[in-house]
Symmetry: C2
Subunit: 222 residues, 2 copies
């Protein structure tokens, strides 16, 4: 029981911290996304393509969460966005305390879009609220279409689901309609996009979703 009590306290204080951080993000009119998926579903590839396509008109900043190393941060920096790498030192998710070590060093007044790329994990990151307006969850076609059913919390907490690696559809058993049905059941109304960072197919839908959210944010900021 002790473990559970401690954990609930940790989650409650994490949520409070996330709210304070999100208020700071909002104060600067920044749109913030929490990008989640299992390992290797293509989060960094999607960030790379997004930076390449938007860098001339959207000021982007990326926070990379990884257990160790800076492989992903180097990829994002090469694509042309500012980036801070957080190493969780073994932890399976990002939380508010970790972001607190990164956020004060970022000049939010020079940012339109903040993408927080979480640790590759379909379980734990869903439990920790981050200073993000939208949770975006990726599931890749080779992972199989049973993922929403098997990892329900992640999909219940998602505002957008992106099916990645659609170029592999002819080579794997993946039922797009089954994912759409499962997502609709777990969180009715959640859009499900399909794209391939390899071929570029479907990227326009993602950029359209993003453009709409950026425009709404700008309008709200006044």
């Amino acid at each position: 029981m002790a473990e559970v009590r401690v954990m609930q306290k940790v989650l409650a204080s994490n949520d409070a911290l996330a709210e304070v951080q999100l208020a700071e993000v909002d104060r600067h009119g920044v749109l913030s996304l929490n990008l989640m998926s299992g390992p290797g579903a293509g989060k960094t590839s999607l960030v790379e393509r997004t930076v390449e396509r938007l860098r001339d008109r959207v000021r982007m900043y990326v926070i990379e969460g990884d257990i160790q190393g800076s492989l992903d941060a180097e990829r994002v920096a090469a694509a042309g966005a500012g980036v801070t790498q957080i190493n969780t030192q073994g932890a399976c998710h990002l939380d508010g305390m970790m972001l607190q070590s990164a956020l004060p060093g970022i000049d939010l007044s020079a940012v339109d879009l903040l993408i927080i790329e979480n640790v590759g994990n379909l379980v734990c990151p869903a439990e920790f609220r981050l200073p993000a307006h939208f949770n975006v969850t990726l599931v890749s076609t080779p992972e199989g279409s049973d993922k929403p059913v098997k990892y329900p919390l992640m999909f219940e907490r998602s505002d957008l689901v992106v099916i990645t690696k659609t170029d592999l559809l002819p080579h794997v058993d993946f039922d797009v309609a089954a994912v759409e049905r499962a997502v609709a059941k777990l969180k009715p109304g959640t859009p499900v996009l399909k794209l391939s960072c390899r071929t570029g197919e479907g990227l326009d839908d993602w950029l359209a979703w993003l453009g709409e959210k950026l425009a709404a944010k700008k309008q709200a900021a006044g």
Copy 2:
């Protein structure tokens, strides 16, 4: 600090429980494997193929760990092995207490090979010792060859690494040699196998590894 202390106590008591459980497994001369990977790397497919190929000469039993549902257990049962499904109810890994709810119900005297299929997660399961002689970690080619570098603990704790979905190699960026180098650095001497459950390519290497361990176990027991 409180959280860390509680966690260390949990891990220590989990390890002690795993040792007691492994002694019971050993008493019956059963070979036990802990199968780990990220979501959708092909753990259940490998178990299915293994059951199909060995069911006539090896008595197998499978414990399926999933957050919820019994999709994987149904697949394994259809392939022809006895199976117990453990639902972790949100937890990101299997631990000794969860296995304690399953093990006493299994007639180990009628089992040669016990496969414990962990929750799909490349992070947390590595921290919890289970009653297994070997940790076997799968990484699928579409996940990318950076996985050992990014999830080091999992590969440090692995006795065998299996690269799955080799049939997709022509369609993805995956560097087999890079994985072999990273694994050799994290845990020198760990074998790395390559296979495809879809085409059957490489399955013989896996069955040879398994046959060797089963023979050694039988010899030790006999």
